[in-house]
Subunit: 319 residues, 2 copies
C-alpha cells in the first residue's frame, strides 16, 4: 500500500453520527467554525431533540468568539439525514457518538467506513473503548481512531486522539493538525489505555478525593474548595509536569526530583484505595447535597459553564 | 480552663517568622489587605533578600484588586525585627514559615507561643509536618495549627487549616472566619494526614501523570496539555465531587455512582504505581525540556503567573 493521504486541509463538511449531548455539542462546535454538518441519529424525534442542544451550545460559543458568519446556524449548514450512509457519503470528516456499547459502535463504524471515501478521517467519541476493538470490522481501518472530547465538548479544547493497532500514524497526525487549525487542543495518545489520558488522571485525583472524605480528613465541600481555590487554578494554566518543573526553581524538574522525589514517593505510598461501598456512597451523596444547598443541578451546571467561559475568555486574551 | 477566645475580628498586625518565598508572599498578601506586618528572619541580610519578593508580589496583587491605600507599602506597615520575640509580642496573628525541619519549627513555635498573648492565633505554613508534632512544646497549644498556603500564596486563595490533637476547634473556626474576611478560601482539615488535602490530590494526579509517561501512553507535553486544556479548566471552576455530581445529570451523585461507580472502580484498579527510578527521571526531565523549548524557567513561571492572575480576575468578576 502506498503512503496513505488523509483529508485534513480541505474539510468543509462534517458528519455527526449520534446526536445526544456529546453529538449536539460537537455539532455546535463545527458549525461555529463555519463547517457544514450532516447529522444522523436513529431516533424518530432526533431533530427535535438535538436542535435545542445545538442552540444552547452555539449561544455559549458566541460568548467566546464571533461565530463564523456563514453557514453557521443557516438551514443549509445543518442537515439531518435519515440514512447514515447519506450523512457520511458527502462528509470530509466523521465523528461517531453512539452509546458506549462495543458491538453497536463497531457495526456503526463498519457502516461509516464503507460509506466514506478512504481518505476521510473517522473519529469516535468513546471514553472507554479501544480504537483497536472499534476498527476491527472496517475495510479502511487506517483512518479510524478515537477522537475523545472532554465535556462539554463545545467549550473544552482537549481532544484525545488515540490510534488503534491499524490506525496510520499519518492519520493521527492529520487529525491533530486539523483540530489545531480549528482551535482545539488535541493530544496524541501513543498507546491504548483504559480512560485514555485525561480521565485516568481525573480518576486518580477523584480516588484520593473519595479517600479523604471516607477517612474523615475533610468534608466533600472542603475537598472541592481545596481543588477549586488551590491546585485547580494552576492546572487551568499549566500541566502537572510543568508545574513541578517550575517547583524545582532554577534547576527545574531535575532538581525537583533530586530534592523532593523521595517525599513524593512517600506520599504516593500513603494514598488511599477507597471502595465505593454503601457507607462511602452515602457520605458522598450527603456531602454534595450539603454543598449544593438550595441550588438545583441546572443552577450549578449553568454556574459552572458561566465560569468556564469566563476562564476560557481570560486565557484566550492572555496567551 | 474556661472557653478560650481567640483574636480574629480585631487583627491589625501580623508577625511573619521566616521570610523566604512563602514568607515574602504572605507579607505582601497581608500588606495588600491593609494589615501591618512585623517580620523576623534570622539571616543577616533578611531585609534586602525579602523586600524584592514582597514588591514583586505586591505588583501581582495590584493587578487583582486595588491595594489597601494605607498602610500598605508604607515604611510603618512593614517592619523588620532582629528579635523573634519583638516581632511576635506586638502581633495579633503569627504565621511561621521556617524550613521543613521538625525540631527547628517546634522550637520556633515554642518561642512564638511564649511571646504571643494567649488569644493570638498561630499558624504554620508547613506542607509536610503535623500540627500535633509542632505544638508539642507550646504552653498554649490550643491556638497553634497548620495554616498551609498554596504556592504562590499571595495569589492562590486556598489555606488549609489543620488542627493538632491540642488545637481548639474554636481556634480553627476563628482562623477560618478571619481568612474568609481577608478574601482567602480556607478549609478545615479535621484529621491529620501527610500532605493535608490539596497536595494529596496533587500527588495522586501526578502519580498517574508519571505512570502515563513511563508506560509510553503519551508524552510529558501531551499529558500537560491534557490537563491544562481539559479537566484543569473545570477544576478551576468546580471541585471533583461537584463535577461528578453534575456528571450524574438530574439524579446527581447518586445516579453517577449507580451508573458509573463500577466503571470508576475498574479504572482505579488499573491506575499505575510508578517508581521514580533513573529511567523515569530521565523521561520526565527530557520531556519537560522538550516542552519548555527555548523558554527559561523565569519565562515559564512568569507566563504561569500572568495566566493565573487572568483566571483569578475572570472568576472574581463571574462569582
Amino acid at each position: 500500500m502506498s503512503e496513505p493521504q488523509f483529508r485534513s486541509d480541505r474539510i468543509a463538511t462534517v458528519a455527526i453520527i449520534g446526536g445526544g449531548l456529546i453529538g449536539g455539542s460537537w455539532i455546535a462546535f463545527f458549525l461555529s467554525r463555519g463547517l457544514a454538518v450532516r447529522v444522523h441519529d436513529p431516533r424518530p424525534d432526533a431533530e427535535a431533540a438535538i436542535r435545542p442542544i445545538v442552540e444552547r451550545a452555539l449561544a455559549d460559543l458566541a460568548q467566546l468568539a464571533p461565530l463564523a458568519p456563514l453557514p453557521a446556524m443557516s438551514a443549509a449548514a445543518l442537515e439531518f439525514c435519515t440514512e447514515l450512509e447519506d450523512a457520511v457519503a458527502r462528509a470530509d470528516y466523521v465523528q461517531e457518538n453512539a452509546p458506549e456499547v462495543l458491538d453497536l459502535k463497531r457495526s456503526l463504524l463498519a457502516r461509516i467506513d464503507a460509506a466514506a471515501a478512504p481518505d476521510v478521517l473517522i473519529g469516535s467519541s468513546t471514553s472507554s473503548l479501544r480504537a483497536t476493538d472499534l476498527q476491527r470490522d472496517c475495510k479502511h481501518p487506517q483512518r479510524v481512531m478515537v477522537a475523545h472530547p472532554f465535556n462539554p465538548p463545545h467549550l473544552v479544547p482537549l481532544v484525545e486522539l488515540v490510534r488503534g493497532d491499524k490506525t496510520a500514524p499519518e492519520a493521527q497526525d492529520a487529525a491533530y493538525q486539523w483540530f489545531v487549525s480549528l482551535g482545539k487542543a488535541p493530544i496524541r495518545v501513543t498507546r491504548e489505555a483504559r480512560g485514555h489520558v485525561a480521565n485516568r488522571m481525573s480518576s486518580a485525583l477523584w480516588r484520593e478525593a473519595v479517600h479523604i472524605v471516607a477517612e474523615g480528613i475533610a468534608s466533600v465541600e472542603d475537598v472541592d474548595r481545596a481543588i477549586r481555590f488551590g491546585p485547580g487554578l494552576r492546572w487551568a494554566v499549566d500541566g502537572p509536569h510543568m508545574l513541578y518543573h517550575l517547583g524545582g526553581g532554577e534547576g527545574g524538574m531535575a532538581d525537583y526530583l533530586a530534592h523532593l522525589g523521595p517525599a513524593q514517593e512517600a506520599r504516593w505510598a500513603e494514598l488511599g484505595a477507597p471502595v465505593l461501598d454503601g457507607r462511602t456512597r452515602e457520605l458522598l451523596v450527603a456531602g454534595v447535597t450539603d454543598e449544593a444547598g438550595s441550588r438545583s443541578i441546572a443552577d450549578l451546571a449553568s454556574a459552572r459553564d458561566r465560569r468556564l467561559i469566563a476562564v476560557l475568555q481570560a486565557l484566550d486574551e492572555t496567551s
